[in-house]
Symmetry: C3
Subunit: 344 residues, 3 copies
């Protein structure tokens, strides 16, 4: 927490150029309004230029077109927001965990732990698990039999991973997320549901982050696949046999039904819902609260949300939503009458 | 994993008839495209007939009308998908758990455990719990005081069951699900919320399966009831005093508000939401993303989702949703004018 | 469970007046239909007056205008529902927990525990945690390093609280909820997401209750704030830097995006979704399934849900939702034609 870096140190690590005194020392990064005289701040939105003028920060990260907006020392970067992310990671590593295996943790004798693996108190590592170098498992987390966890993975407290899953390097799993639970596979027979065993796995690539209480079901016969660099927010449902392409980001409360394949570099808004067995192309953006019912073969932005209004207005309008077809027919009938008049 | 069965063995267990060599051995079940020469596959959709021809599988499960679609050995069944489910369960039992009580598990001395109960590492079984024969409790799961769990129940890791609940035979509870938390019962007094103690229970019938991170609240005064054979997917909210009728299936991200009574043999789509204090008849189907605001006394399918479009199109259309009442009035005014013209 | 109180005892504690025999003893509170001859019941809805007549209850809680609706002993209160809540809390305290520190619980030697703190089996209390007097931590719960928990807080089993959070007095956290997980902060660079460290905290006021499997993310730079008396139901997502004003109640499955500020005394319906970076005034009510995309500076009720219909009707109507702009233009064209006719 008390580490200090000069602006010269930072550009050596992360690129960019310094204007003003490159020996200026900073000890933390903060927003324009919160930064104190020993901290670095950043401007990512020209509308906040007024805050720049009044900020107490020692120095700033600015885009080239804002290079002259202050006289204080500054780092010029083409992407100040990404630069901020890197500097912040330098000042703010993940919370320290105790080395070794904590009290109460149960590690099966067949498990293989890489160098510097840290297992917190009361975690459970089942038979034949393999955990890569430098990975950390939080308190109360449970890693099912035969699962493989990559190097430097960060598994927070009370995560559950079922048997035989594969988790890539540097993956971050937040508390309460569940990886590898059974997909919702049922066959109907005489009015009763027969469970279909879910014998696929979940395979998660490198640099994936999965939010708190998100669920990723294992495949029915084949695997559920989350590719490299995917970022999932909290409380998301990923059903069995879904594929999520690399570097796609999904906001909280979204749901992806079984066997949907989402492309790479997509963004899905909060509470968006995706039907099963459809294909979504790369570079698709889905808006918040939008339901996608068909494949989307073309990049673009798609939306289905209904605009909100005051409830009294909604009461008047919503009744007509049940009668749009009748309105359309009445409109057509009027057009025909007028066309007929015009012909007369 | 290395068990083998002949087709004759399978029809002896599960019915159906064999065409071709009944002594053909199979060692696993797989999709048409993935099956190898020692595996059984199945056809549930006539559109996949092309895959049948090219499949390497040793044998197939087929419906009677497809009996001649291959020359390879085959089992003929009226419901190939249900047949597949049963065969798959034979080849793929749930993951083995260690017998007895695992290290670090805390079992209160007053708890009663049936024969062959298996309690995994670091699970907690509180005072006066009763667990039926052959039931399994996963690592880190917590079973609250006085709860009763049926025979052969399968409670996965990190499940939480509160005090005094009742869980039927063969129930499966997936990781992170919470059974018996307090319902959202509040009384307003002078602008502040007073908590209403939730003193009912959750009572779950036989053969119910509940998905990862789904929550089922205990009743306020009476009980929350989940009847036999109900199947709940992941991340579903079941509020206090809800009743869910037998053999109803609910997809992920759905929410059922307090005291709603859902009939038997219903299906509720993903992210469907059901108002409180309403009654839904047996054999109702609710579509994905649909909000049900009133009782549904008749079987049928009900929908309220809004269709998606490209965002640029949505921008043009959505503005009119706020003005439907005005459009309807203007339409009526035009009709009256034309009617008046016609009378002239 | 076997405690008895006279009506006189109750009005001494909670106010109101008795009509009839004030020495009538009651041993529990129950609904009109379920109450037996030793129980107290209550009427909060005049429509249930018929149930009052047939109820077996020993006594009732009634509003002043219903004081004469029965001859049995009764407590008259201006707010029978709030009165019921208080009486029920007297008869039904939270489930007892064992005193002291349970077997298998791991409490870091630097943690400070107030008087009568109860830590259940296999819970984990990390470095530098401070827990106030009379607080209870359930089995398997994990409290991260440096977190401070108020007096009489009730943390249920398998809750996870990350490092450095602040939890107020008498807060109730239900199982599976996650407090202080990282917010979804990402910077895009060359098609890849760079994680932005989340270095703020979650700060929760007094008398807050948070439901099962709800997630509250820590702030990116500043803190996420949940003010006094807020009540959150199950499976709710609270993103980073959200503020929720005092005594606001939010129903299950809702989601609040990053940096949204919700006022005090609001109610948000189930599955409501709130955009990020907006401000919602005090005393706003958001309907179930409603998406709020802009700031709401005025108290009131706001709605965007789409009404449901039978699926066959929906099929006919929904197609027109994609063509509302064209319908509006055709309507305007007709109006112009008729206006032109009238001018002629």
């Amino acid at each position: 927490m008390s580490s200090h870096y000069t602006l010269a140190d930072l550009v050596l690590r992360f690129g960019g150029t310094v204007q003003g005194d490159a020996q200026t020392q900073v000890s933390q990064i903060a927003s324009l309004l919160q930064a104190d005289e020993q901290e670095l701040s950043f401007l990512t939105n020209e509308k906040l230029r007024g805050q720049l003028a009044s900020s107490r920060a020692a120095a700033f990260i600015l885009a080239p077109n804002m290079a002259d907006a202050t006289d204080k020392p500054r780092i010029i970067s083409a992407n100040p927001y990404a630069y901020f992310a890197r500097v912040s990671a330098l000042f703010n590593p993940p919370p320290e965990s105790e080395p070794g295996i904590g009290p109460g943790a149960i590690v099966h004798p067949t498990a293989q732990l890489g160098a510097d693996v840290r297992i917190a108190s009361n975690a459970v590592i089942e038979r034949d698990v393999v955990i890569g170098e430098g990975a950390r498992v939080g308190a109360g987390a449970v890693i099912g039999a035969g699962t493989v966890i990559g190097n430097q993975a960060l598994i927070y407290a009370n995560v559950t991973i079922y048997h035989r899953c594969v988790i890539g390097d540097r993956v971050i799993l937040h508390s309460g997320c569940v990886i590898g639970s059974d997909g919702f596979g049922l066959a109907l027979e005489a009015g009763r549901w027969i469970k279909i065993p879910q014998i696929g796995r979940v395979v998660i690539g490198d640099d994936v982050e999965i939010g708190a209480n998100t669920t990723v079901d294992r495949g029915a016969l084949d695997d559920t696949l989350i590719h490299d660099g995917v970022k999932l927010d909290n409380l998301i449902q990923i059903a069995h046999n879904v594929h999520i392409g690399a570097h796609t980001a999904i906001a909280a409360c979204a749901g992806i039904a079984g066997s949907a394949h989402i492309g790479a570099h997509c963004t899905l808004g909060g509470a968006s819902m995706i039907f099963g067995h459809i294909e979504i192309a790369d570079h698709v953006n889905i808006s918040t609260n939008t339901l996608i019912t068909k494949s989307l073969p073309k990049a673009g932005t798609y939306t289905s949300a209904t605009p909100f209004v005051e409830h009294s207005v909604w009461l008047k309008n919503s009744v007509h939503m049940r009668h749009l077809d009748s309105m359309a027919k009445r409109l057509r009938a009027l057009e025909k009458k007028l066309e007929a008049q015009e012909k007369d």
